[in-house]
């Protein structure tokens, strides 16, 4: 989990323009919405493409993305549930 979470953190910092320092993002920090990092739909697309490239996991539609991209932990869980990472 920790290794996957760290790779996701790297992905966030390299593919997105974050206002928050990447080590301040916990596994449970909400990635979207005003209480979290405040990412938007374009960031979501960027993340989906990044996850596919880095981990080989496919996020097929918006409904899946809403669930999977909630936090670093939910992304890591999804990667593991797909047998990747």
């Amino acid at each position: 989990m920790n290794e996957i979470a760290q790779r996701i953190r790297t992905l966030l910092s390299t593919r997105l323009k974050l206002a928050t320092a990447v080590d301040e993002i916990t596994d449970d920090t909400p990635l979207f919405g005003p209480t979290g990092l405040g990412l938007d739909s374009i960031d979501a697309l960027e993340l989906v493409l990044g996850l596919e490239k880095e981990f080989g996991v496919v996020v097929e539609d918006r409904a899946t993305a809403v669930k999977v991209l909630a936090s670093i932990r939910t992304i890591a869980d999804y990667i593991q549930s797909q047998g990747k990472g």
């Binding site: 739909s41 374009i42 697309l45 539609d61 918006r62």
Partner: protein, 141 residues
């Protein structure tokens, strides 16, 4: 896709920056042409005596070409332009060959890699994200 694909663009004729589609694989890739002519209205003042295709209109041309890959009847707007590079000037007499490939998407967003070539040499390239704002009622993207 029935008829001339260019006619399916939502843009009015004076804001159409694609002349002809050479090849299209709907939802995947498209190759289109745009001819640049000395009496194109925007070249009169860009620049007087030194006509040069504005870079933003090259991007518009590339975005419209990419838009041809969306389901027929869709209207889309620019959501993101990344890694745009303008490598060489485009001037009257040039024929621009625009090649767009869809590279994924999510919900209403569609991402494309687009290159504009003149005489086989890249004049401009960009990654473009389009957001569908009025999806075709029958074919949701």
């Amino acid at each position: 896709m029935a008829g001339d694909p260019v006619s399916h663009l939502p843009h009015g004729i004076s804001f159409r920056f694609v002349d002809r589609v050479l090849q299209i694989v709907p939802g995947d890739r498209v190759v289109a042409l745009k001819n640049v002519t000395v009496n194109d209205p925007y070249l009169q003042d860009h620049f007087p005596g030194n006509p040069l295709m504005p870079g933003v209109l090259l991007v518009e041309s590339m975005a419209q070409t990419a838009g041809l890959l969306l389901p027929e009847g869709s209207s889309a707007v620019l959501a993101q332009i990344k890694e745009a590079r303008f490598r060489s000037p485009v001037i009257p007499g040039d024929q621009i060959r625009i090649e767009a490939v869809r590279r994924g998407g999510l919900g209403a967003l569609h991402r494309f890699e687009v290159v504009a070539l003149v005489n086989g040499i890249p004049a401009a390239e960009a990654e473009i994200v389009l957001a569908v704002v009025m999806p075709n009622a029958e074919k949701q993207p």
